[in-house]
């Protein structure tokens, strides 16, 4: 391991905090790998050695886990991962075009990083935001309802250091390393930023209210709506 002594000390301290969350230390491996990405920007040989030593595993056992999960990077990641969803729905609704445009604009292909180390372009699989298609995740923050143009604008803002706010997320996109630390379970204090939900998330609820249906919790009592609200005809 070639970590500087103070880095190693911090890693050990953080790792023991992570292990304390679980009845069995090995459960800490995934968060610890996220943690090492916050230091190295990827799961480096040092990270493998550190996790192996800390959890009394062989290096093979650690890399077995690290190479199984797609969020763990084997090459130094850019400051920002641009993850364009290309699974059927987002891809066909325009994710393909967004990816093509970004690839052309940045001059990199899938899983490649720009020479300035700023951006890693990645084709990602469904990120559970299909009602916001096409979706782009920047460092795993939601950028909903994207177009090729809007995606390029995001890149330009990040490159220029201009404010860049995810659709549903904190006020500013954190860096890959910052997000990796958060994913290791170290609270970054940004939970209270950003909206409660985007428009598609509340479309049904709003429609129900507009139709005069019961807004269950609006009356704060939280009492149940009348069963009549359900149309038993559907049961036929």
């Amino acid at each position: 391991m070639s970590y500087a002594p103070e880095t190693l000390r911090a890693l050990k301290r953080d790792a023991s905090q992570i292990m304390a969350r679980y009845p069995s230390p090995r459960s800490a491996l995934l968060p610890m790998l996220h943690l090492t990405q916050s230091i190295d920007g990827y799961v480096s040989p040092d990270a493998i050695a550190f996790c192996a030593e800390t959890l009394d595993l062989t290096a093979s056992e650690v890399s077995a886990v690290a190479t199984f999960y797609s969020q763990f990077k084997r090459q130094p990641n850019g400051q920002y991962t641009l993850g364009v969803c290309i699974t059927s729905l987002c891809g066909l609704m325009g994710g393909d075009a967004i990816y093509e445009r970004l690839s052309e604009y940045l001059g990199v292909g899938n899983d490649q990083t720009t020479d300035d180390g700023l951006f890693t372009l990645e084709k990602i699989e469904c990120n559970a935001a299909c009602d916001y298609a096409p979706v782009m995740m920047v460092n795993w923050e939601f950028f909903d309802n994207q177009t090729p143009t809007s995606a390029v604008e995001v890149v330009e803002a990040l490159r220029a250091g201009r404010p860049c706010r995810p659709t549903r997320g904190p006020d500013q996109v954190p860096t890959f390393k910052e997000v990796s630390r958060t994913l290791a379970g170290f609270d970054d204090g940004l939970a209270n930023q950003g909206p409660s939900a985007g428009a598609p998330s509340v479309v049904g609820k709003d429609l129900a209210a507009a139709q005069g249906g019961t807004s269950v919790v609006a009356d704060a009592a939280g009492s149940a709506p009348a069963p009549g609200a359900a149309d038993k005809e559907a049961d036929k």
């Binding site: 969350r21 069995s24 090995r26 459960s27 800490a28 491996l29 996220h34 199984f68 797609s70 969020q71 763990f72 993850g83 290309i86 059927s88 729905l89 891809g91 066909l92 609704m93 325009g94 393909d96 990602i124 699989e125 469904c126 990120n127 559970a128 299909c130 009602d131 916001y132 096409p134 795993w140 923050e141 090729p148 143009t149 549903r168 290791a184 609270d187 940004l190 939970a191 209270n192 409660s196 939900a197 428009a199 998330s201 509340v202 049904g204 609820k205 429609l207 249906g213 807004s215 919790v217 009592a221 939280g222 149940a224 709506p225 069963p227 609200a229 359900a230 149309d231 559907a234 049961d235």
Partner: protein
């Protein structure tokens, strides 16, 4: 016409809805107060009586699953919430946890109390960092308010909750793969038996439930099993979140009693994209066989959808209009399954690899007439042979598309090219390119 009935979605979009303050202001943790006064067995009975079925896709009765736990032996038992929402098309748990994490937490506490669990886990997929923040925040708030930790609300009941992030693996939505992942291993499914109820997390009795299932528990506890049963259908009780996406005017989350039809939902969503017609739709995520407009009136409950030849799954209703090339859509889903196959068993690992190769080739214009037989045969070599449900679900879209649109495959092979204008499916003007 079935009316929408927002329960789990009712707080979404409210100001600071994710905070304890906002949650408690809207009746939050009242169910917990009631539950802590009940006998744990009575809670299990209530949930059993309610008929609540798992909202993660399989539809197994939640209360029955809890009752499979062996009698307490003094050792730990665990609740693990499956928050790995990754099935293509499924997008309900993520907004729930972002907007209303305390509703999940309340369900976790009640469920843990019911089953005798003192350390619960929420396994969240790692690719949704803001949801993780909201969950961590909710746990912290709850702890500070005495809703977690020792002697919760003076009940003598202790509970720790750990929110755990995955790191990108669809297979971890399978409950035993999730447990292996939570133990710091590769997320590959375990051999069953033993089932998690007997030997799950750390080889201890474990209940694994979906987010929406657990978030439904406070509603049931507070309002009773009978009330819940009065909603929905006889065998698919209660409300559920329907997620509409794709070529519809107003995609989004529609919470309604189980049994609502796609026709009704489409109407609520303003219909298919203007100027277009529905071509096919997926009722329960990409692992469920597709439907066409013919099935618009099938009640979207567990049994009716099954009877119609598909699965209710996660109610991830993805709609595709006539601009969509079904071969392309299916090929892309196969990319997904090949990418996400864990590699453990031969049929899924090799079968999805083969089908991906053939589908990509056909879509790119390299199809051969004999490929049609391979597309028919290989799914049969995967389904019922694979180790876990991922393999069983992987060829669903392919097989059903061959049933509904065989000529589209033939056309690709005949032309040596894809006959569709892909840009016509985009949700933005292609000219912006």
């Amino acid at each position: 016409m079935t009316a929408l009935m927002p329960l789990l979605t009712s707080r979404w979009g409210n100001p600071e809805s994710w905070t304890l303050k906002a949650y408690e202001a809207t009746g939050g943790y009242e169910a917990l107060a009631a539950a802590l006064k009940m006998e744990p067995a009575a809670i299990i009975d209530t949930v059993k009586d309610s008929g609540l079925r798992g909202r993660g896709g399989a539809g197994f009765p939640t209360g029955v699953k809890w009752s499979f736990l062996p009698p307490p032996d003094g050792g730990p038992r665990y609740l693990v919430v499956n928050a790995d929402e990754s099935e293509p098309g499924t997008c309900k748990d993520i907004p729930l946890m972002m907007a209303d994490p305390h509703s999940l937490l309340e369900g976790v506490i009640i469920t843990s109390f019911a089953i005798g669990c003192h350390h619960a886990f929420i396994y969240l997929r790692g690719e949704v960092v803001h949801v993780y923040r909201r969950l961590l925040n909710a746990v912290r708030e709850a702890k500070q308010a005495g809703l977690l930790g020792n002697n919760i609300k003076g009940s003598g009941f202790d509970l720790e909750v750990t929110v755990h992030t995955g790191a990108g693996a669809y297979i971890c939505g399978e409950e035993t793969a999730l447990l292996d992942s939570l133990e710091g291993r590769r997320g590959q499914p375990r051999l069953k038996p033993p089932f998690p109820a007997v030997a799950g997390l750390y080889a201890r009795p474990t209940v694994v439930n979906n987010v929406e299932s657990i978030a439904s528990v406070p509603w049931i506890v507070k309002n009773g099993a009978d009330w819940w049963k009065s909603i929905g259908t006889e065998k698919s009780t209660g409300v559920a979140i329907y997620s509409l996406s794709g070529h519809v005017e107003r995609p989004g989350q529609y919470e309604a009693p189980l049994g609502i039809t796609m026709r009704e939902l489409l109407e609520l969503a303003g219909g298919v994209r203007q100027g277009h017609q529905l071509k096919f739709w997926m009722p329960g995520g990409s692992s469920t066989p597709m439907f066409t407009p013919e099935q618009l009136d099938v009640p979207l409950d567990y049994d009716s959808v099954a009877a119609a030849g598909s699965m209710l799954g996660t109610r991830a209703l993805q709609c595709f209009d006539e601009t969509v090339c079904v071969v392309r859509a299916v090929s892309r889903w196969m990319d997904f399954y090949a990418h996400e196959s864990c590699g453990k068993c031969t049929p899924c690992r090799e079968g999805t690899f083969w089908l991906r190769s053939v589908l990509r080739r056909i879509e790119a214009g390299g199809g051969r007439p004999e490929d049609m037989q391979i597309l028919q045969d290989i799914p049969k070599s995967i389904v019922g042979r694979a180790f876990c449900p991922l393999g069983d679900g992987a060829p669903s879209a392919l097989t059903s598309s061959l049933k509904f649109f065989p000529e589209e495959y033939a056309r690709h092979i005949e032309l040596g090219a894809c006959p569709f204008d892909h840009a016509a499916s985009y949700l933005f003007e292609a000219v912006t390119l």
